[in-house]
């Protein structure tokens, strides 16, 4: 590698030195995909996990894995509950992450409390797993406001529908923290289609140039609504894009919760200790349509969907945990009951009539309101007062 990498401050070089590997070996995702647990639930021997020197991933502690499984089950239940609430007309729309829950759970669990998560619109389960109240998360899809939670409470950016714009916000949050000498790591999520957006490029480049601790986490589910990845990118893999920015890229089985926790956990650690960005691409599948308004049968075969059922992240994790003796009937019953409680609370919350305050429309446009908005608020207030008198 040329002069750019020979900069003494360059975290890539520092990492390469400590691992005893070349920058190419460090940055390129040449080893294939990190997978620890097979679809059938068998733990692979280390030499078959896709790891290599400088890319070693120890098995996360078993208690962490068991509690992550519980979040996985809850996440699946929430996805299915929300899809039902949409069919019942209680929610306007819900982009389900059914099939991608392992990515969702791992993204939230790999971060420390002081870190930040920047999700997309499909990352509801990640936001919840980070600890945001599910009802607040869902208010955006219920249609009462364009966002339902305070980003500062759990350090979660607001769910974004314009693609990859939030990656730059993640970069900014990390930059501000770095300037103040804080060791905050930011994990920023996007999908495979989003990697075509200009902001994806600008965010990765800025993060690399300013040496910011940002983990870019791409959930590659194969489709951007209907357009397959082959029409989105000609790169060997999306993780290969990292090398162009001077950062390391890694690929991971997106339906293997164990591998995701290991890979993202290490990426977060490296980002924190080396103050460098990393790109992690998880290969997964959206089992349902893009949203309730989409018809996935127009662009993908049922055979393909069936193949992915066999790779399901929940059944895979369950099989492994049971095989290891970490999950017995009693624990399963407890976890199922916990998931049911979350779903019931969601149902109750969503079935309750929500009250909206029309005058709130004017309240948060500016910190210091303009006289023009004050006038318009009076107009609406008068209109509402007349309606009340008429009734």
């Amino acid at each position: 590698m040329s002069q750019t990498v020979e900069n003494a401050e360059n975290p890539i070089l520092r990492a390469c030195r400590s691992f005893g590997i070349t920058p190419e070996q460090y940055m390129l995702p040449a080893r294939g995909e990190i997978r620890m647990v097979d679809p059938g639930g068998r733990l692979r021997p280390p030499e078959e996990q896709g790891t290599g020197p400088g890319h070693e991933y120890p098995l996360p502690p078993r208690d962490v894995l068991l509690s992550a499984y519980e979040k996985l089950v809850v996440g699946r239940r929430v996805n299915d509950q929300n899809s039902a609430l949409v069919r019942q007309g209680r929610m306007a729309v819900y982009p389900s992450s059914h099939g991608q829950e392992a990515c969702q759970v791992a993204a939230a669990l790999c971060l420390a409390e002081g870190d930040w998560l920047f999700p997309t619109y499909r990352d509801t389960v990640a936001v919840m797993t980070r600890g945001v109240d599910p009802l607040q998360v869902m208010s955006i899809f219920r249609g009462e406001w364009h966002g339902g939670y305070d980003p500062y409470e759990r350090r979660v950016g607001i769910q974004a529908t314009p693609l990859t714009t939030q990656l730059l916000h993640a970069v900014g949050v990390a930059h501000a923290a770095k300037l103040r000498g804080e060791d905050t790591v930011v994990l920023a999520m996007c999908g495979d289609g989003a990697t075509s957006e200009g902001d994806f490029h600008e965010a990765l480049n800025f993060a690399a140039v300013f040496k910011l601790p940002v983990v870019f986490f791409v959930q590659n589910n194969g489709y951007a609504i209907s357009v397959p990845l082959s029409q989105q990118s000609a790169a060997p893999t999306l993780a290969h894009k990292a090398v162009g920015y001077g950062m390391a890229g890694e690929r991971v089985d997106g339906n293997d919760l164990v591998a995701l926790l290991a890979t993202l956990g290490r990426a977060v650690d490296l980002a924190r200790t080396e103050s460098e960005p990393l790109l992690v691409e998880a290969h997964t599948y959206r089992m349902q349509a893009h949203t309730n308004a989409d018809d996935a049968t127009r662009y993908r075969d049922d055979a393909e969907v069936q193949e992915w059922i066999a790779k399901d992240p929940v059944t895979r994790m369950r099989a492994w945990l049971r095989g290891e003796g970490l999950l017995d009937d009693a624990a399963e019953a407890r976890i199922a009951a916990a998931a049911e409680d979350v779903a019931a609370a969601l149902r109750d919350g969503m079935n309750a009539e929500v009250s909206v305050d029309p005058l709130e429309l004017f309240r948060h446009v500016y910190v210091e309101r303009t006289p023009q908005l004050a006038e318009q608020e009076q107009l609406l207030a008068a209109e509402l007062a007349r309606e009340e008198t008429d009734q």
Partner: protein, 351 residues
């Protein structure tokens, strides 16, 4: 501030010596950086070079690379990173090198900078200033002279300021940086080299001890007059004042209102002037169709219809792409064109 970099002396300008508009902006940035550690300045070429117009000259030397720094050449990245930094308690002041080069940042500005406070029900404040050198009159090549203020003024959640005097260059930039709302700050390029005998130390003193009443969004009467009002802003203010001087020599007294802030808009000051004179010409450099000038006309007729002796006239740029240097004089609102419009204000009628 980086401890590795020795602080250079502040760019001191002796009292009452002519100060340029650019120097006043530079001083405002320096004073804001000194006043608040959360203020950071970044953009393309703003560091070592001091900006293509030298507005950030010396700031990196004085405050270090952590406070004023160059970014990769990507405007959406600059604006998007500013959003994130503001979310994390900084007060970024970003420079878009030229008006038309700010368009790649438009999504970040319109979809996020403008909306985040509202989307989070007030939880997130984004005190970001987007500085945009704008408008023509400098013989700029293509894509260097757009008057793009209407795009931003049309976007709820943004405030839009545009100073026209050396004093306002300082005061309004300080105000924009201290605002908890995002401000798009339009700097008329052709006024960068304009001068006025201003005491910057006194201005700083005045700004820091200003009265607590509503400060932003005030228009000023730049010249008082009795017969007609010219409503204008930014690069057209000096042209309007020149027109008023010429009209005075011809026996007609024109009042010139410098709007200063497009959002918020000072209906009060505008209406008071219009009700006094009964005749109005709106002058702005941007193409007139669906423009800020059009909005001003609408507001005036809604509020002052019974005080008007004549339809409100506009003198604006034509509805064409900004012309090449050899043609721009035909495009820009001129003294003659303003006076012709004034002549058309039905002087035989009484309101």
């Amino acid at each position: 501030m980086s401890t590795l970099e020795a602080p250079a002396p502040a760019a001191e300008v002796p009292a009452q010596r002519p100060v340029t508009f650019a120097q006043a902006l530079n001083c405002a940035l320096a004073d804001a950086l000194a006043a608040d550690d959360a203020v950071v300045v970044f953009g393309e070429d703003v560091g070592t070079l001091g900006g293509v117009f030298r507005i950030t000259d010396g700031l990196t030397r004085r405050f270090g690379r952590t406070r004023c720094f160059d970014t990769p050449l990507a405007e959406s990245g600059i604006a998007g990173m500013a959003v994130g930094m503001a979310m994390n308690r900084m007060r970024p002041v970003i420079e878009m090198q030229f008006d038309a080069f700010a368009y790649p940042a438009f999504e970040q500005i319109a979809s996020h900078l403008a909306k985040m406070h509202n989307r989070t029900r007030g939880a997130v404040r984004l005190p970001v200033v987007v500085r945009i050198p704008y408008a023509g009159g400098i013989g700029g090549v293509e894509h260097h002279c757009d008057s793009s203020e209407a795009y931003y003024a049309h976007t709820p959640g943004l405030k839009v300021f545009t100073p026209a005097t050396v004093e306002d260059a300082y005061l309004m930039l300080r105000e924009a940086i201290d605002s908890d709302d995002p401000v798009v700050f339009f700097e008329p390029k052709k006024l960068y080299w304009s001068k006025a005998p201003v005491d910057l130390a006194e201005l700083k003193e005045r700004y820091e001890h200003r009265a607590p009443e509503r400060r932003e969004g005030r228009a000023v009467v730049a010249r008082t007059g009795e017969d007609a009002t010219i409503l204008t802003y930014g690069p057209s203010v000096p042209t309007a004042l020149a027109a008023a001087a010429t009209a005075a020599a011809e026996g007609r007294s024109l009042e010139v209102v410098d709007l200063r802030s497009i959002v918020p808009f000072d209906d009060e000051t505008v209406a008071a002037s219009v009700r006094k004179t009964g005749r109005v010409v709106v002058v702005a450099e941007a193409p007139g169709f669906a423009s800020v000038a059009a909005e001003i006309v609408a507001r005036v007729q809604e509020r002052c219809f019974h005080s008007l002796a004549a339809p409100v006239r506009r003198v604006t740029g034509f509805d064409i792409p900004y012309p090449a240097p050899k043609l721009e004089e035909h495009y820009l609102p001129s003294v003659d064109r303003i006076l012709d419009a004034v002549d058309d204000l039905q002087w035989e009628d009484r309101p």
